[in-house]
């Protein structure tokens, strides 16, 4: 039997078969990768999981994940070792997925993020989405994905726009679905435009030539989508996706955030199921300016400072309930996302990571991290993985020394795990000083 890559991506083959087939072929099964990002860390006493009779027992903020207990692992102990004394706080956003130190004063990444690396290797663009159109006060609040050093990935915050970016591939995926004449006409139009761009390039200065090169690259991507064709699979059914993504969003802020998050989740699952994307990020909110979805009226960031001297006064008593309520709200959205991936048959070959930029109180150490899906890729799920951790993880911003303690494990190794699990090399990721390769406790290549 021939194992077709697109069938694998769409979940048309079962996870055990997938793993067995990969073993027989001596290769890693191809997989998808998804980062679900929420800002400002977690209230850890209520977040995470414990073991009960050998099974994961989720703490209250993750109660919605109970149906997925066998397909989730909860890790503690990872540290963002690339952060230094100057970038030990919410600015970690820009290096969260790159694991490379940020050049002082730049507020931008020093290399490509893991979603980009995986996307480039698999030959499809990364799908970089946001649920909250509020982008915050500064790029470092939400920009987790980078194409390269200093080049942030474009992020789409509107489900309608997400659908628009995928529609050509979703609706013309069958050979012949796009009339050959029409296809030839469209490609001819692109040729005309490319010719004019090349002519103009000769007349302008160096900076404008670079801009026109980017325009040319964008046209190549349009053409690539035109070329994309594949048989439509049962799990790749885009019927109704357009209408659902374009329906008006609620005007109330939190209802809008919920609806946008779920529609973006729908489209990520569909894109994975149809094999038109392999790597995605979903940013749920901004680190400083993002909304508190539990409804306090303050920003999520302000809530975390309810008991700090620099926060809004008079709300300290609310903190013990307010922060877990926020986490629980995000937990519900995460469960929804897993549900959609599962419904379309791609959870088993999708590694999903719930990440945040600080563990607590601006610390880059001892993160609690939720990993879900990907059992067909070799991920070891249903575990509570307490990785060894030494030092004070409540030491405030910029505690690079604890994060970099050689006894502590690196977040970069989680991304190295993703790199390997999605069919890439078994190798370190990011800055070589801070990564040793995939986490053996979490991953074993099938």
């Amino acid at each position: 039997m021939t194992l077709r890559r697109r069938d694998v991506l769409r979940g048309l083959v079962t996870a055990p078969f997938l793993a067995a087939a990969a073993r027989a072929a001596g290769t890693a099964p191809a997989g998808n990768f998804l980062v679900f990002f929420t800002p400002n860390g977690f209230a850890r006493s209520q977040f995470g999981a414990d073991l009960s009779n050998g099974a994961l027992a989720f703490r209250p903020s993750l109660a919605a994940l109970a149906p997925y207990a066998s397909r989730v692992s909860v890790l503690t102990g990872l540290c963002l070792k690339s952060c230094d004394l100057n970038y030990g706080s919410h600015e970690n956003v820009v290096q969260l997925l790159t694991c490379r130190p940020v050049a002082p004063g730049t507020y931008t990444a020093s290399g490509p993020s893991i979603d980009t690396v995986i996307a480039q290797r698999t030959g499809t663009p990364a799908l970089n989405l946001a649920a909250d159109p509020v982008r915050g006060d500064a790029p470092f609040e939400t920009q987790i994905s980078y194409r390269a050093a200093g080049v942030p990935s474009p992020v789409v915050a509107s489900p309608a726009q997400t659908y628009a970016s995928l529609s050509a591939e979703l609706t013309s995926s069958a050979p012949g679905a796009l009339d050959a004449r029409r296809l030839a006409q469209r490609k001819s139009v692109l040729d005309f435009v490319r010719g004019d761009l090349a002519t103009l390039k000769a007349r302008v200065g160096a900076a404008d030539r670079q801009r026109l090169d980017l325009h040319l690259a964008a046209l190549r991507e349009v053409e690539r989508k035109l070329d994309a064709s594949a048989p439509v699979a049962p799990s790749c059914d885009a019927t109704g996706a357009q209408a659902a993504s374009q329906a008006a969003l609620p005007s109330e802020q939190i209802a809008r955030l919920k609806a946008a998050a779920e529609r973006q989740a729908d489209l990520i699952a569909l894109a994975f199921a149809c094999g038109v994307r392999r790597s995605a990020t979903l940013v749920m909110g901004a680190a400083i300016g993002g909304v508190d979805p539990s409804g306090s009226g303050y920003t999520h960031h302000d809530v975390t400072h309810f008991c700090a001297g620099d926060g809004p006064a008079g709300h300290c008593a609310e903190l013990p309930t307010r922060r877990p309520a926020i986490d629980r709200w995000y937990g519900d959205r995460f469960a929804y996302l897993l549900g959609r991936l599962d419904a379309l048959g791609v959870l088993a070959n999708t590694m999903v990571v719930w990440a945040t930029e600080i563990s607590q109180e601006h610390s880059p150490s001892n993160f609690t991290t939720v990993v879900a899906g990907g059992n067909a890729l070799g991920l070891k799920l249903g575990q509570r993985l307490a990785l060894p951790f030494t030092g004070n993880d409540d030491a405030g911003a910029g505690n690079a020394a604890v994060a970099r303690d050689s006894r502590n494990r690196s977040l970069a190794d989680l991304w190295a795990t993703a790199q390997a699990a999605t069919g890439g090399p078994v190798a370190p990721f990011g800055d070589a000083s801070f990564s040793s390769g995939p986490l053996p406790e979490l991953y074993q290549r099938p």
Binding site: F140, V189, F192, V193, L197, G297, Y298, G309, G398
Partner: protein
């Protein structure tokens, strides 16, 4: 000519005036985002050591022929509304979609990414199918004369100029090939589809005439497009196009007459509203991104928010276009214009809602110029309280064009600094606490925050108040490191009067207008003579005349030639 040597001379002066305040970073590299992004680039101070910009004398620099604005030859990507206005020239009955491509400020640096390219591709296909074809193209086979005429017409509408002979030859050759493969009607529509996406449509050039020298002049068509998009966000209309075609547009009297005519159009008024939205930093309030706390400000409803913004934009544009007012009037006027649609705002301000659009006086002493309007004061504030940072940065950067460096790394973690543990502390007490508790921040914050204390009479939703947390408000404020404006001010009106009368604010406003019209990002303190000339040296020049002077200034139509 490259940037004047003045730039290198100013940098050490700026650093000397602002120790530790990162002026150099602003000059030499793109600034990281500040706590609130400055709508216009911050300008380095003109101050010499021990003195401020108000005391510096531009005459010396002007006498040497330096200090003037020089812009490079460049490509400007059309904004979504500009492209839609251009595409509408093909078929006015089929309104194009307004795509998201860039904003004015980034027009000369933004590139088309894959999302934009896809959107353009889809929209071009849609519009091409709707574009009326001349009769000779609807039946095969069309002759070349018909096709050439069609291509010339489409090109003229989309490119805002006649096609070059090379462009015509290329397009006609492509049309013939498409006609052979797919027939005349399809070839015609595909030609439209291609021309809608070609760079001559999507970008406007400011490359100028061929030149062997360092500088070049914009072509007549480039100048017409620059004027039209600057004033109306649309391509040149027929009279402007005619002036370009007959070669008279570069004549100052013709250019002034055309610009004056365009300024009287509704499109120009609409564009000026966007200028003031940006200048007054109303964007986040207008978009709803900045939401006020219903607990702290129950009276600041959505209706009041919208009406307050409308009131301010109407006031500012009327002052400029209809009243021919100067900057001092904008900054100190005790009146505004209210209509029946602003009834909620009027009642919130203690005014009787007018039955028709009327000029009304603010209640005595409660408002003093546009800065103190409810919209501006609430936009420059936090959701639940005032903000000395936002208001101070607006005064410092927005009105005076003084520089503030980017916040140091890690500043975001303490971005709510300045609030002490006493829930009843006043803003001034919080500021004093902040001064003591965050000494590392004071090299910059001590410059721009103290002046904002003068505006504490207006709360975080722009309402006038006499107490803060039950205590009388002390509105005394200190300005330093500006030169002529340095000193103590009793309250907001006293400070705003001084700013309104200063050369610093006058030149700064002219700089903003120049940047807006030419969509450049050159700090105008690199071109102080241009700023002063535009503003007028006696302080009496009306704002609309400053705007016209910016269009007539040689810098508007001169570019450094492409090497």
């Amino acid at each position: 000519m490259p940037l004047p040597h003045l730039r290198s001379a100013l940098v050490p002066l700026a650093l000397a005036a602002l120790p530790g305040c990162m002026g150099l970073a602003t000059m030499n590299a793109p600034a990281p985002a500040a706590a609130d992004d400055a709508p216009f680039p911050a300008l380095p101070p003109q101050s010499a050591p021990g003195g401020g910009s108000g005391s510096s004398e531009p005459a010396n620099r002007c006498a040497a022929g330096e200090g003037r604005l020089h812009l490079p030859a460049r490509l400007l990507l059309l904004t979504g509304p500009q492209l839609a206005a251009t595409s509408a020239r093909l078929s006015p009955t089929q309104p194009p979609k307004v795509l998201t491509l860039t904003d004015d400020a980034a027009a000369s640096t933004a590139a088309i990414d894959e999302l934009s390219a896809q959107a353009l591709f889809d929209e071009a296909e849609r519009l091409a199918a709707l574009t009326p074809l001349s009769a000779c193209l609807q039946t095969a086979p069309a002759d070349d004369a018909c096709a050439a005429s069609f291509i010339d017409d489409v090109g003229r509408r989309l490119f805002r100029r006649p096609l070059s002979s090379d462009e015509r030859t290329t397009a006609l050759g492509w049309f013939r090939q498409a006609r052979t493969q797919w027939g005349t009607p399809d070839a015609a529509r595909l030609t439209v589809q291609a021309m809608l996406q070609t760079p001559a449509t999507l970008y406007r050039t400011e490359l100028g005439l061929p030149s062997n020298g360092a500088a070049t002049q914009l072509t007549a068509e480039e100048l017409a497009s620059a004027v039209a998009f600057a004033l109306t966000d649309a391509p040149p209309d027929a009279p402007l196009q005619a002036a370009a075609d007959d070669g008279t547009l570069a004549t100052p009297s013709v250019l002034r007459a055309q610009a004056t005519r365009l300024l009287a159009t509704p499109a120009a008024r609409q564009k000026l509203r966007r200028f003031f939205t940006r200048l007054l930093r109303l964007e986040s309030l207008a978009s709803g991104e900045l939401q006020k706390s219903a607990t702290a400000f129950p009276a600041f409803t959505d209706a009041v928010r919208h009406q307050a913004i409308e009131e301010t934009l109407r006031f500012a544009t009327r002052e400029l276009l209809d009243e021919h007012a100067g900057l001092p009037e904008l900054l100190t006027a005790s009146h505004t214009w209210l209509g029946p649609d602003e009834a909620d705002l009027a009642r919130a301000m203690g005014l009787e809602p007018p039955t028709s659009l009327s000029r009304v006086s603010w209640p005595k002493a409660q408002r003093h110029g546009v800065v103190t309007h409810p919209s501006v004061m609430s936009a420059l504030a936090k959701p639940d309280r005032t903000s000395l940072t936002l208001r101070g940065l607006f005064l410092w950067e927005g009105l005076l064009c003084q520089t503030v460096g980017a916040p140091p790394p890690g500043a975001a973690a303490s971005s709510t600094g300045g609030t002490n543990r006493d829930p009843d502390a006043t803003t001034r007490q919080n500021f004093e606490y902040f001064q003591q508790s965050a000494p590392g921040c004071q090299s910059c914050h001590s410059l721009f925050m103290p002046p904002a204390l003068a505006l504490e009479r207006w709360d975080g939703a722009g309402a006038y108040r006499t107490t803060d947390h039950g205590r009388p408000i002390d509105t005394r404020a200190t300005v330093r490191s500006t030169g002529a404006l340095d000193g103590e001010y009793a309250d907001g009106p006293a400070l705003l009067d001084a700013i309104a009368g200063s050369a610093l604010a006058r030149d700064c406003f002219a700089a903003h207008l120049s940047q807006w019209l030419s969509t450049h990002q050159v700090p105008l303190q690199q071109a102080p003579c241009t700023a002063s000339d535009l503003a007028g040296h006696d302080g009496a020049r009306p704002m609309d005349q400053v705007l016209l002077e910016a269009l007539l200034d040689p810098s508007f139509a001169t570019r450094e030639a492409v090497p």
